[in-house]
Structure formats: C-alpha cells, structure tokens
C-alpha cells in the first residue's frame, strides 16, 4: 500500500491507487485544516439576531463550532426572503431583509476593518513588507557576489573563508542572541529597523546556496567575457547574474519567507508599536487579551495571505531551493 512506487502497471494497482488517494486526501485535509480555520474564524459572524431570536448569538463562540462562515447561508436566506417580500409588495419586510444583508456583510468583515482602523496592522504590514524586501534584495546582491568568487575564482584564503562561514551554520541562532542584543544596544540601534536588517543581512545560508549554484556556470562564458575586455564587475553583472537567475529566485524566496516570518529576534529588539512587524504585532494583540478570536484570526489571515500568494506564484522555486540547499558535496 505504501510502496506504491512501481505499482502503476501491476494488476492490483488500481485498488492501491484508490487507497492512496483516499489516505492522502485525509492527510491533506488534516494538514490544511488549521489554515482553513484561520480564514473561517476571521470571517465568522460574531453577532447575529433574526426576528425570531430573543438574544443575538455569536457563531465564533459556539458549541459545536460552525465549520464555515455563517454569514454566507444567512445572507442568501435574507436575499431570497427580500425577493419574496418584494414580489408580495411588502416594502417594510423587504427593507428589513436588505438591512440584514448589509449588516451580515459588515459584521463578516468587521474585524479586518477594526484591525486597520483601531490597531496598527496597516503599519505592521508595511514594516514587514519593506524590511523583507530590503533584506531580500541586499542578500541577493551580497551573497551572489560572495558565492560567485568563492565558486569561480582561485585566490589565497578562499577555502578558509568558505569553511569559516559555513561552519557557523552549525551554530544555533540562540547562541548569538545575548551578545547581539548587547551589541545592538551599544550601537544605539535598539528599537530601530536597523536592528533587524543588519543581522538578517549577515545570514550565511545564501553564500552556501549561491556557491553551489555558481559552480554550474560554464567557465568558458566567463573566459569569453574576460577576452571581450569586460571588467570583473561587468562580467558579474551581465554574465553571471542572468545565468544565476533560478538560484537567485530560490534564495530570494527563502530569504523573504524567513524575514517575513522571523519572530524571536524582533520581539527582543522592538518595543514600540509603530515599528512592529506583523508577527510581533500579532503577539501583542494576543497578549492584550481583549481581542476576540475573530480579531486574532483576522490578524493571522493578514499575515498569512502574502506568503500564500508568494508560494502559489513561485512554487517551483521553493522546490528548487529546497533540493539545491539539501545537496551535500
């Protein structure tokens, strides 16, 4: 059942395949359920009262839980009743249902509205975007330069430099937490975005990845550029970088994802709400204890959507980056 690797042609293959599909679908549902729950809760009706109800109910805090946003079926209910009321010529009834439809829409999106109006989510979003973009572009430039010469040039100290850089990949980030904190404090960079950007630009994974990738660039092309009289910089910029595009895309995506999701370091160095990135802001939102789960899940959705879009657009580079980074020499 599990070893379906070559069963395609075997007679029992069809049954096995059905079993595989069923099992994989169950696993996939389990794995995607939390994400679904983020979106479902963020759009859940938090208060609803129809004519025949004594008190408004919340579908967010309901037992058993509502598996999808209740606004959807209720909206159509009111819509069809409004239509019937119109047919019957009952304008008062129709107006009531129209109002309820408006109410359902506004309540469904209410938490997103208040996130951006009452809380600083817009600012946090902007901070996350610009820090991630700045770091990603910086890493792409700096690491491709380093990876290029480490792969393609022979100069004294090359291997020593590479091995020193790579050996620090073994050291968990927590080791440098305290000294880095003291350094940033002494440089008076606490509570600034520099405190995030500078250490992020120093990550070494990209050098390793870029070096691996640059090996595949044929030497002949570099020689040819040299013979055409191109300077080192021009060779790098016009020959090497275009050829390294797939590697750059993979590195760029992973850097963006890491920076976008980074959490431990930002909660240590940032302490004013205006400077927060999304993960830090979400933590303070949760810590405030005033926020409903609908509001928290809306915040989570705002933070999740950009990464989901990036993933859908650049899927193949995720695969490429993972398989490239995993290759050992």
């Amino acid at each position: 059942m599990i070893g379906g690797v070559t069963m395609k042609k075997s007679p029992a293959g069809k049954l096995n395949k059905v079993i595989i599909y069923v099992l994989l679908t169950i696993f996939a549902v389990v794995s995607l359920l939390p994400l679904y729950w983020v979106f479902s809760t963020s759009l859940q009706l938090s208060s609803y009262q129809s004519e025949d109800m004594e008190r408004p109910v919340s579908y967010v805090d309901s037992n058993p839980p509502k598996m999808y946003p209740m606004g959807i079926p209720l909206y159509f209910e009111h819509w069809s009743e409004a239509r019937e009321a119109k047919k019957a010529g009952n304008t008062e009834e129709e107006a009531y249902h129209r109002d309820m439809m408006d109410y359902i829409v506004s309540n469904t999106f209410a938490s997103f509205n208040s996130l951006f109006k009452k809380h600083d989510v817009g600012t946090w979003f902007f901070n996350s975007v610009y820090i991630s973009v700045v770091v990603t572009l910086g890493i792409l430039l700096i690491d491709s330069m380093a990876g290029y010469v480490l792969a393609k040039k022979k100069f004294p100290g090359r291997n020593l430099i590479f091995w020193i850089i790579i050996s620090t990949m073994m050291i968990p980030g927590q080791v440098t937490l305290v000294p880095l904190f003291m350094m940033i404090r002494d440089l008076e960079l606490m509570n600034t975005h520099w405190a995030l950007i500078l250490p992020d630009l120093s990550m070494v994974f990209g050098v390793f990845l870029m070096r691996q990738f640059m090996y595949s660039i044929p030497d002949e092309l570099l020689e040819a550029a040299k013979m055409d009289g191109a300077s080192e910089w021009k060779t790098y910029w016009t020959v090497v970088l275009p050829l390294a595009k797939p590697g750059l895309a993979a590195l760029g995506i992973f850097t963006f994802m890491n920076v976008w999701n980074s959490f431990l370091w930002p909660i240590i160095v940032l302490n004013s709400a205006k400077l927060y990135t999304l993960p830090v802001g979400l933590k303070t939102l949760q810590d405030a204890n005033l926020a409903s789960f609908k509001l928290l899940m809306s915040g989570a959705a705002v933070a999740a959507i950009p990464m989901i879009i990036v993933f859908i657009l650049f899927q193949r580079y995720f695969v490429k980056g993972l398989t490239l980074g995993g290759v050992k020499e």
Binding site: V5, T6, S31, W37, P156, I268
Partner: protein, 319 residues
C-alpha cells in the same frame, strides 16, 4: 592553444606574473602576496559579506563564549570562571526544560521524518498533476509563520469552543483542557507538531525518489518482489542519505522550539512546557542575566552538536 596565445599577447603583465611559480625563484610568501594582489577584485566581491559576517556572526559567537564565563554588570562585567555553567547544571528549571525539549524531540522527529517518508512514497506513486497538487497541499502550511500556526492551534485547543475537542467528541472523548493543565500541555504541543506536515521533508524525499533508477525496481519485479518489498528493500535504503539529512534538520529545529511555547503556553502551566530556548529567552531578556543566558545557550549548542554527531554515526553505521 590560441586562447593562451591571445592572453599572452594581450596582457603581457599578467602572463609574466602567472609564469612566476614555474620559475620558483621568488619565495612562497611573496608569491601569496602577488596572488592576493592579482585577485584583489575577488576580495572586493567578498568584502560586504565578510564585514557583515565578522560583525554580526563571528564576533557575537566568540563573545557568547566569553560572556558565559562572566557575570554581567552594567559597569563592566567580571570574570567568574565556570560559575555560570555550575549554575546551569544546578538549576532545576534547566533540567525540566531539557527533559521537556528531549521528550518533544524524541516524539516529533521520528514521527515527522517517518510520516514524510510514507506520504512522499504515496505521492510518488501518483501521476504528475496529482503529485504537484499534494506536494503543495503539504508544503503550504509550512510557508506560513509559526506565529500564525500557534495562534490558530491555541484557538483550536480552546476548552469550550475549540475545534479539537469537538472533533475528539465524535470519537466519544470528553473535552480536555489541553493547554490549561500541566499533564496535557506538553502533549498538546507535541501533537500539534506532529500534525503540521514536514513539507520540506516531503519535497526532498520526492526529489531523491526521482533519482532512483527504475531498472532496480524492474529487476526486483522479475525476482517476484511485491510493491511493499520493493519499497522496503530498494526505496528506503537508497533514501538513507536524505533520511539522515532530514533527521538532522528536524532535530536541530526541534531543539530550538520556541514560538509555539511563547505564543501558546508561556512555558506553563508551572513549567510544564518550559523548553531550552524559552528558558534562555526568559533568563536573558526577562531576568537580564546575560552571563547565565550565554552559558545556557552554549550548553544548548553542545547538546545539539552531540545529538547531531550521534545521529550521523548511527544512521551512517548500519548502511
């Protein structure tokens, strides 16, 4: 040949330098210096990364070791020898954190690696389109921040309205206050980590499976081996390097478990879910005992290193 000739005529200077080693008239040190001078542009290319690396990686690493032998004071720290390390090993909190982290790792790492192997084997048996569909379905949850995952699981573990207790209710399980009591809190975090798919592992396994030669399976089939036997005797052994790599990767990751802790339990109730990194965070940035926190982080590094070596040895050995 023509290439060489051209460079000689174009740049007599450089050809002179490169012919130096052959003549071996100059001492070696001078040679190195000339080599460095000739390649100055390479150093310029390396320069930005090197500066950042020295300032924000190498220097802090060295400083962490130095700090671990000091007691931090605002006006100059004092050298205290092994005091911090003694304190680390004498504190009950550290051993509870270590025990919790070890339990967390011991359950989640084998579970995640084995489930990644099983899931990717199943995916590999499918057609191209289904392959990429399921690959995405299992990888998607791993691109979202652990902060988000932790927030939604905290909500799903809610005693009264949570999805988790509701689903368990289908199987006749009474509601459990998962995160609120010390007997279940750590297990709640472990279950959660097991149910988050190991997306990177699945993708890497799939890539490795693609590079296994089909002729091996052909031969096994001729010998009458069924699908499971083929998988067990061909696929699994040939994937061993990937398994080793993934086991290391997820062990290192799970020793550093932090985000779930601070977002869901804060190490509690009591210290039921205290982990090493959360302890380091608390020691350093709540109690501001920098020396002690540095010592704890060095110990964490040592533990990770030892486990990596053991794992490497064990998985390499029975190859």
């Amino acid at each position: 040949m023509t290439k060489q000739l051209e460079t000689v005529t174009d740049k007599p200077e450089s050809s002179f330098k490169s012919s130096n080693p052959n003549k071996s008239t100059t001492p070696k040190r001078k040679n190195t210096f000339l080599e460095m001078k000739k390649n100055y542009s390479s150093y310029l290319f390396l320069f930005p990364k090197l500066v950042l690396f020295v300032l924000f990686v190498a220097f802090p690493v060295v400083w962490a070791f130095v700090l671990s032998f000091q007691e931090y004071k605002v006006f100059g720290s004092v050298f205290v020898g092994l005091d911090n390390y003694i304190k680390v090993f004498q504190s009950e909190a550290f051993f509870i954190a270590l025990k919790n982290t070890l339990l967390f790792t011991a359950v989640t790492v084998p579970f995640n690696v084995i489930s990644a192997l099983v899931i990717s084997s199943m995916i590999f048996a499918l057609g191209k389109i289904s392959q990429s569909f399921f690959r995405s379905a299992f990888y998607l949850p791993t691109v979202t921040s652990m902060v988000i995952i932790a927030m939604v699981w905290r909500w799903m573990y809610n005693y009264e309205f949570g999805l988790f207790n509701y689903v368990l209710g289908w199987f006749g399980v009474e509601p459990i206050n998962w995160l609120g009591q010390s007997s279940t809190a750590l297990w709640a975090l472990i279950i959660m980590s097991c149910l988050i798919p190991f997306g990177a592992g699945i993708i890497m396994y799939l890539a490795s499976m693609g590079s296994i030669s089909p002729s091996l399976y052909e031969a096994a089939r001729i010998d009458g081996a069924n699908s499971f036997k083929q998988w067990w005797h061909i696929t699994v052994p040939l994937l061993k390097p990937t398994t080793l790599y993934l086991a290391l990767l997820s062990t290192i990751g799970s020793f550093q478990v932090f985000t779930q802790i601070i977002m869901m339990t804060g190490g509690g109730p009591g210290n039921a879910t205290e982990t090493l990194v959360h302890l380091i965070y608390k020691t350093g940035f709540r109690d501001f005992e920098f020396g002690l926190a540095a010592a704890q982080s060095v110990v964490l590094f040592a533990i990770i290193l030892v486990f990596s070596i053991i794992q490497f040895r064990v998985l390499r050995h029975d190859e």
